[in-house]
Symmetry: C2
């Protein structure tokens, strides 16, 4: 008995043209992976019926499970269903139930012409329809020999709704003797080679496949094991424990979570309030923290004080201090953190001031230099980092480092050197 093998086939000229990042493929791969099903390949092709049909035929030879997304609407570039019919040797038929349901749902839309309804209700014969709760393009489930094919819309919110409501329940009922599971351990503040240096002596004890993935926000470690469910769980838990013991507080999640969710939950759980004063990160810290549901109970404000006037006026940083040390300085970072904490009346104040680039750097204050301030009930301190990368990457690294400073303060330890 072996693991089930899946191929994901994403369709769209916007993908092969590079105009869209394929988030559907990673979403589906992640969800399929959680079920213990291995994704052996992801393929992306343009809006071309014959090309789609050919790749689907090839996929049918290699996989038990095929997930298609994209090309399901009613505009002229939506040709996936015809391609599926071609590859599976079925004819296209109009599903009368689906058609009348769509007619009722779309009757207020002037654009729902009979031709559009026929197109939306057309299916390869013998397909099972999967309702789309958030759009007009239904999903499809087709059994072809031993293989199972699922067809989903390409709009990410519709794809997710069809997957969760319709595909997942069917997949959950399939027998899976062996599963392949990956656990993602996230770190920050330590380079890939430094992590490898600590983990290599332990590699014999880690009973899972170990992968390294450096990202702007830190290095991700991926542990993968295959086997019966309970064995996999045990191997991954033991291996994760070894890594956490070796890397200590540089690990901020053993469940693949982003740092803002980890910190946000720590703050909410402890009832600690926070206010942020951002300069070079430009709102990114506020944006990340406000991704966390329920953060409004602890986040008072995030002031993006881009100009010197804003630093003085909205944070109370003395103009003379900026004059003396420059806006990008430890002194100003400290005054920003204290100022936002005082004005907001929160437990914690966090600040960033730096040079995101690409312009504005000098020999003394290069692009990528960021000063951080952290103010709390017991006083305040500052630190500085120089991050490499583009404007966007410097912003990400600085925001994550700032969040990590708060996390480590809450843990009672200090953040390490930048990733």
């Amino acid at each position: 008995m072996r693991s089930m093998r899946a191929i994901i086939l994403t369709i769209g000229d916007e993908l092969t043209g590079g105009h869209t990042v394929d988030t559907n493929a990673s979403y589906l791969a992640g969800r399929i992976g959680e079920l213990g099903i291995k994704v052996s390949r992801i393929e992306t092709v343009g809006d071309d019926t014959e090309v789609i049909a050919r790749q689907l035929l090839i996929a049918l030879e290699a996989a038990d499970l095929i997930l298609l997304t994209g090309g399901l609407g009613s505009t002229t570039d939506d040709i996936t269903k015809e391609a599926v019919a071609l590859a599976t040797g079925r004819k296209m038929v109009i599903d009368p139930g689906l058609r009348s349901e769509l007619e009722a749902r779309l009757k207020s839309y002037r654009t729902a012409t009979p031709a559009v309804l026929d197109s939306l209700a057309g299916i390869p014969e013998g397909s099972e329809i999967i309702q789309n709760p958030v759009g007009a393009a239904a999903g499809l489930f087709i059994k072809q020999g031993d293989a199972r094919i699922f067809v989903m819309p390409g709009v990410p919110s519709e794809m997710e709704a069809v997957f969760v409501d319709g595909v997942l329940p069917i997949l959950g009922r399939l027998p899976r003797p062996e599963i392949t599971v990956t656990r993602v351990v996230k770190t920050t503040g330590m380079s890939e080679s430094a992590i490898a240096g600590r983990l290599e002596p332990l590699i014999g004890k880690i009973q899972a496949r170990l992968g390294y993935l450096p990202r702007p926000e830190g290095v991700e470690l991926r542990l993968t094991a295959t086997g019966p469910g309970e064995t996999v769980d045990r191997l991954l838990s033991e291996s994760t424990g070894i890594i956490v013991a070796a890397l200590g507080e540089r690990v901020y999640s053993t469940k693949g979570e982003d740092i803002h969710f980890v910190l946000g939950r720590m703050l909410i759980d402890r009832g600690l309030t926070i206010a942020v004063a951002e300069s070079c990160t430009g709102g990114l810290i506020g944006h990340l923290l406000t991704q966390v549901p329920g953060i409004s109970s602890v986040l008072d404000r995030a002031v993006v004080a881009y100009s010197n006037g804003a630093k003085t006026d909205s944070l109370g940083v003395p103009a003379a201090l900026i004059e003396e040390h420059g806006a990008v300085s430890a002194e100003v970072a400290q005054a920003m953190a204290r100022g936002v904490r005082d004005r907001a009346g929160t437990d914690i104040g966090l600040s960033t001031t730096g040079i995101a680039g690409p312009g504005g750097g000098t020999q003394e204050k290069p692009v990528g230099l960021v000063h951080f301030g952290l103010a709390g009930p017991d006083g305040s301190d500052t630190s500085r980092m120089v991050f490499r990368g583009s404007r966007e990457i410097v912003k990400i690294r600085a925001a994550v480092h700032g969040l990590d400073l708060v996390r480590c303060r809450l843990l009672g330890t200090e953040a390490g050197a930048g990733g």
Copy 2:
């Protein structure tokens, strides 16, 4: 003579496991597309030497140009070079020049052991080395029969550096009798079906293939044409003109730019200063605007006033106004926009206050409701929208709508209904 055909092959368990969104594939597809080379397929496989070699062999039969990324480092999961050697029937050799150069560059790193250096300097025999200016894993260029293979690192910043410095110059020298070019026209505030309703009567005049792509921030239109360079340019320019005439100010870019870059440049060019007061968008407007190089000359501040206290204290919104109308109200949106404009002393003040969800909605004020305030020298006004989608999507839609309100004010027109 026909267009050159490319296949992109991205490698990594983090991709097939769904832990990473494959931004390399879209980056490369976009850059290749700009050269007029059609990407016929993108494939993604895990860190498995035989699988990589097999897919590369298949790709060699179908494409003139193959771009590989990932699996080029010196850790145990980096096996791409061996796979390329296997597929092309070459043996692995150590390049002495590359090895001594790496030895000199990495001598300060304790982790650069002889085994690591051998691994980094190992290449399939006959490969041409492409320098990696930002990392230790060099790129490779291999001519295999009529096909050209480029191998690049997987870390996006390294991949981009190798592509721009090494791959692009080689591709630029290849003869290309026919090119395929796509132009991306970006819209917001109009649904896909409404756009299709306006464009369908004109479809005979649009001499390019037209694709629709709905995104959270609006519908993207893709126009693709194939032919000799000057013909393609003319067809795309004429077609773009027809679309802009039909959709008017709903088009914010005919070059695929994001709205914050378009608005940022308008503000910088006109020397108009702006301040932002965000509640439900949580810093995202500030983050987007601060992606624009040079924005510091016009952006004074972005205040994320999450709590009622922050709205009163840092924006001057009267506590009684919040008490009377609620924080999510047109009155508070107006006071926020005026308050941030007054305090910052800018030309423009923009505000958002709403319910991003998933919790916090009521029948009167549902999840997705957002009030906007826009204050300028001639007075202020407010508007409201109800956006559908997750917390993250509501934030994106609200941020883009807010930026579009400013853009339309600058154009002298009003923003349309939300996308």
